[in-house]
């Protein structure tokens, strides 16, 4: 006998029963409250991630921990709250080491999904690049500590038949990791192991041989938003003007792979329009090596891994009115930043002195006047210069690049579809 009650979410009256979970109730009514650690079957809810922060009866708190009660007033979509929830997701990206393009879970990952839904193009927080291990010891699983968001689902839910924990938090503070018990893990059945992998919202728990995601396009969060109304990310800034003067664009690939430049070429027929309307100045696309004048837009691929990158990036900042980072590497370091958790010395030794093809004593670490110097870590472009706009993806979709460039040049309103916003 559950009591019928009425609650209000963002002004909308909702009839439901007393004592139900707020996130679930909202979801049934088509109101999306972001959540990550919340898992219907765990009671009481874990309340660890804080992604679901809403105002509940006027006070900020996690929606997943709230039970419906008569007269409850909930605010979900208020700019301050949206910003706060977004910040929490950004914190997770900054805290872990999330290289989505190289992740088995990409496309099926709840963290990534939250990033897409909220339009997290870059993190306002510095990436911490804490060195973390990958645990290959368990018989059947691999634990990727770089990706764990400490949601605690596995700790609570993954038990052996004799009710022993397979996972448990170890240490505390920012040293907290999820530890796995090798003995207990070996006792899990295949199905239980797979269930553990699936309960993990990120790619931290993998079962060997079973972890590869489905092909692109078939994965859970690839193409469509869970929201009734698809989120649209509008360019926050429109510095362009509507004069018909021909505009100039410069592009560069710093510590990147040229994948983003390939994606620029993927604009396809748009490219034909584009060259009608703009001139390309310094760019690998036309092999012009020096700036000939000030440009309207600079598109930057890649982060900064050596002293030359820094110089070039600074020159771009001076010469371009608007600077846009294109792709994950430029935005926060991307795949080259995998080295950021390892001391530079070790990287150099591994690459030049101890690698398989090296003969002892025969190789040296390249250096010389004419060579740029390697930085202690890969820096995101916005650590070096101000960046005006970020286009995420590895590489970004051609559509996103094209829409953004058009907007920046002519101030056209534009919106990015869910399926055009990607980290991989």
């Amino acid at each position: 006998m559950t009591k019928k009650i009425t609650i209000t979410i963002d002004g909308q009256k909702i009839e439901t029963e007393e004592g139900r979970n707020l996130v679930t109730v909202a979801q049934e009514k088509g109101i999306f409250i972001p959540s990550l650690c919340y898992y219907e079957h765990i009671d009481p809810p874990l309340g660890t991630c804080r992604v679901c922060t809403c105002n509940i009866n006027g006070r900020p708190g996690p929606a997943c921990m709230a039970k419906t009660a008569e007269g409850m007033e909930v605010e979900v979509y208020k700019p301050e709250l949206e910003n706060t929830r977004k910040a929490i997701v950004e914190m997770m990206f900054s805290e872990g080491n999330h290289f989505c393009p190289a992740c088995e879970k990409s496309g099926n990952c709840d963290l990534q999904h939250m990033g897409y839904e909220m339009g997290v193009a870059h993190s306002r927080f510095p990436h911490l690049f804490k060195d973390r291990l990958i645990d290959f010891n368990p018989k059947r699983m691999v634990i990727e500590h770089n990706r764990c968001v400490k949601c605690r689902r596995c700790v609570e839910e993954v038990l052996t038949d004799d009710k022993k924990q397979v996972f448990s938090f170890q240490n505390r503070g920012n040293e907290t990791v999820v530890g796995i018990d090798y003995v207990q893990e070996a006792k899990l059945s295949e199905a239980q192991a797979l269930a553990a992998m699936n309960i993990c919202p990120t790619g931290a728990i993998l079962v060997r041989g079973k972890s590869m995601a489905k092909p692109f396009g078939d994965r859970r969060f690839d193409m469509t938003s869970v929201r009734k109304e698809e989120p649209k990310i509008f360019a926050q800034m429109t510095k362009g003007n509507d004069s018909f003067e021909k505009k100039t664009i410069a592009t560069i690939s710093l510590a990147g792979c040229f994948g983003c430049h390939m994606s620029m070429l993927d604009i396809d027929l748009g490219l034909l329009d584009l060259i009608e309307l703009v001139d390309f100045d310094k760019s690998p696309l036309n092999d012009i090596k020096e700036f000939s004048k000030n440009c309207d837009i600079g598109l930057i691929e890649g982060g900064c891994c050596n002293s030359e990158n820094i110089e070039v990036l600074r020159e771009f900042r001076k010469k371009c009115d608007l600077l846009v980072t294109v792709g994950e590497c430029a935005i926060w370091g991307g795949l080259p930043a995998m080295r950021n958790t390892i001391p530079l010395g070790e990287c150099l030794e591994e690459a030049y002195l101890n690698c398989l093809t090296c003969e002892t004593g025969e190789y040296i670490i390249p250096h010389g006047e004419e060579l740029p110097k390697i930085l202690d870590k890969v820096y995101a472009c916005n650590e070096i210069v101000e960046i005006d706009y970020h286009i995420p993806g590895c590489p970004p979709t051609a559509n996103h690049i094209w829409k953004a460039v058009k907007n920046l040049l002519w101030g056209e309103q534009f919106s990015i579809l869910y399926s055009e916003f990607k980290y991989d």
């Binding site: 804080r50 910040a87 306002r124 505390r172 920012n174 002293s307 650590e383």
Partner: protein
């Protein structure tokens, strides 16, 4: 293995004690000890490891015949921490975080050990050594090398009781006769006792100020049993040491408070959760407990009241600040990781082992005992009309008379500064790092709920102390003491620390301060418990109250589209490798 089997825990609640026993026996917890606990409790090893790795006094590697914990709190830092640290390294041949080659000495840093009135201080095998300097360190290490026992050469810790209100206003520090309060117990029914406590307006002295009478009443009404009385003797807020002094000077008063609470709510079991930093106080408490049993103030038919049985035992913590948070403490008492619980239930409803539990701190129990002894009217006659009673302050830092001050609520900051002879105060950190930062413009404000509520820590800093250093010390503290369960606190403190490092390097812009404000607010809004909510509070206050200082940290000329970047530093490692 014969003897070791005796150490095996029979119940989960004994886990911490067992881990202590193993560690005391071998100097660290060995693989086989973990296995033994896991076997005995039917838990997986990873869960045992999870518990022990939460507490920083548990070691999984040998920690030396002499394990030295040097306090790295801000007061210690001000009083010469760095020099003392160097001296320890020089004399022992070990570096902090590890052992010397002969494995005789292990050096570790630890957060505040409750000796802020005599810093720098350290614990050696959990015995206190205070007022350290280079010479003293040299002599201590020399003695240890010659086979001295730390128990014999440790310092006598003075109480430094500096101020008590005039005779008819003092509550805590006044003559104490064991049993004085309990004698009166038989005149009260549980209901009338709670009535008396409520009338005296006692509230939680930890800083939350929850009315004690109300808390007891909530617990009394619970149908579930047994019920528990838990005494929070885990004062970990840096700069606090009042409970140390109260337990040293008035252990019986605290016990009486617990017994009274037991009578009021219908509980027969009291547990004192004592922080491991105060292990050296445990014999004193044990003695007091023994004496109470002998005087029939504990045990069966306590204080001659038929059918009222009460016993008290001590549970030692193992090094974790967040365990001072009541639900974290309950988890720790149950032999779990000391993570705060979610706020589904009050401990009075579901506390220790899921049963109704009253959690109060040392000072509150003492106040309750005095309320019974002296009567509620006495209380109402002290302190501020709106907020009666007195408060025990732990004063440390830049003043001539650091120590313990019992003041009436409503005393102004200025009066306190005069009492402790602070000649050149520049700012005051009230209630520890998670409290408030007070500038000299505010010294007429009153210490009491409604103006400046205070948990007990009162740290004074003069002009020569660098505000940024202090804030960085606090941030490091929160970063390492966060339980790690929720995102904003676990990651947030780490992120804030990076930002402060950037400011310290001189690479900051005014926008970096705006970032700190925004981020601090997000942490406050979203953190799961008080630690994360309060972690950036002082920093944000300092930004507002000392704008000139922080503005001096940025050079506004630099601001432009190209950011400050230290290229030389960034290529230094490469240069080193290729030269």
């Amino acid at each position: 293995m014969g003897t070791e089997n005796n150490l095996q825990p029979k119940k989960r609640t004994e886990l911490l004690n067992c881990l202590w026993a193993f560690q005391n026996q071998h100097g660290y917890i060995r693989d086989e000890d973990v296995a033994a606990c896991s076997q005995a409790l039917g838990m997986s090893q990873v869960e045992i490891e999870g518990v022990l790795s939460f507490y920083h006094f548990f070691h999984r590697q040998p920690a030396g015949q002499f394990t030295i914990y040097l306090n790295n709190s801000i007061i210690s830092e001000c009083k010469g921490f760095e020099r003392v640290k160097e001296a320890f390294e020089k004399e022992t041949g070990a570096t902090f975080g590890g052992l010397d080659p002969s494995r005789q000495f292990g050096l570790f840093e630890t957060a505040c050990i409750g000796l802020s009135d005599q810093e720098p201080a350290c614990l050696i095998n959990f015995y206190p050594f205070t007022n350290l300097n280079t010479l003293k360190v040299k002599s201590i290490i020399a003695q240890l090398k010659q086979g001295a026992d730390p128990a014999d050469i440790c310092d006598e810790v003075p109480d430094n009781l500096r101020h008590v209100p005039q005779a008819d206003k003092a509550i805590y520090f006044r003559p104490y006769h064991p049993g004085a309060a309990l004698q009166k117990l038989k005149d009260f029914s549980p209901e009338s006792l709670i009535e008396e406590i409520t009338r005296s307006k006692i509230s939680g002295m930890g800083g939350a100020f929850y009315p004690t009478g109300k808390k007891w009443e909530l617990c009394r009404q619970q149908p579930a049993s047994p019920k528990y009385i838990a005494c929070n003797a885990d004062e970990g807020e840096p700069g606090t040491f009042k409970d140390r002094v109260i337990m040293n000077a008035l252990p019986g008063l605290m016990l009486e408070g617990m017994i009274i609470a037991g009578y009021a709510v219908g509980s027969a079991h009291g547990i004192i959760y004592l922080r491991a930093e105060y292990t050296w106080l445990k014999p004193k408490l044990d003695m007091a407990i023994d004496q109470f049993y002998r005087m029939n103030l504990l045990g069966k038919n306590v204080a001659g009241i038929n059918g009222f049985d009460f016993d008290i035992h001590i549970q030692l913590g193992a090094g974790s600040y967040v365990c001072g948070q009541e639900t974290a403490m309950l988890n720790s008492m149950e032999g779990k990781r000391g993570e705060p619980r979610t706020r589904q239930f009050f401990p009075t409803e579901k506390g220790y082992l899921g049963l109704p539990t009253v959690v109060n701190n040392v000072e509150t129990f003492c106040a309750a005992a005095r309320a019974l002894e002296l009567g509620a009217d006495y209380f109402l006659n002290t302190g501020h009309p709106d907020f009666p009673g007195t408060k025990v302050l732990s004063i440390s830092g830049d003043c001539r008379l650091p120590g313990i001050y019992e003041i009436e609520w409503g005393t102004s900051v200025k009066e306190v500064l005069e009492l402790c002879q602070a000649d050149d105060p520049h700012f005051i950190q009230l209630s520890g790092p998670s409290g408030e930062c007070i500038s000299m413009k505010e010294i007429d404000r009153k210490i009491m709920k409604g103006d400046l509520p205070c948990g007990g820590s009162f740290m004074i800093f003069n002009k020569h102390r660098d505000l940024l250093d202090i804030m960085m010390n606090f941030t490091e503290f929160f970063k390492s003491e966060s339980c790690g369960v929720c995102t904003p606190c676990r990651a947030g403190n780490f992120i804030v620390q990076r930002k402060l490092e950037k400011i310290a390097k001189g690479l900051a812009y005014t926008t970096d301060f705006d970032d700190l404000r925004e981020w601090g607010k997000i942490m406050r809004m979203t953190s799961r418990c008080g630690l994360g909510k309060a972690a950036t509070q002082s920093l944000l206050m300092a930004l507002d109250k000392f704008p000139d200082y922080f503005n001096s940290k940025v050079d506004n000329q630099k601001e432009g589209l190209n950011k400050e970047f230290d290229l030389d530093r960034a290529v230094a490692e490469y240069e080193r490798f290729t030269n």
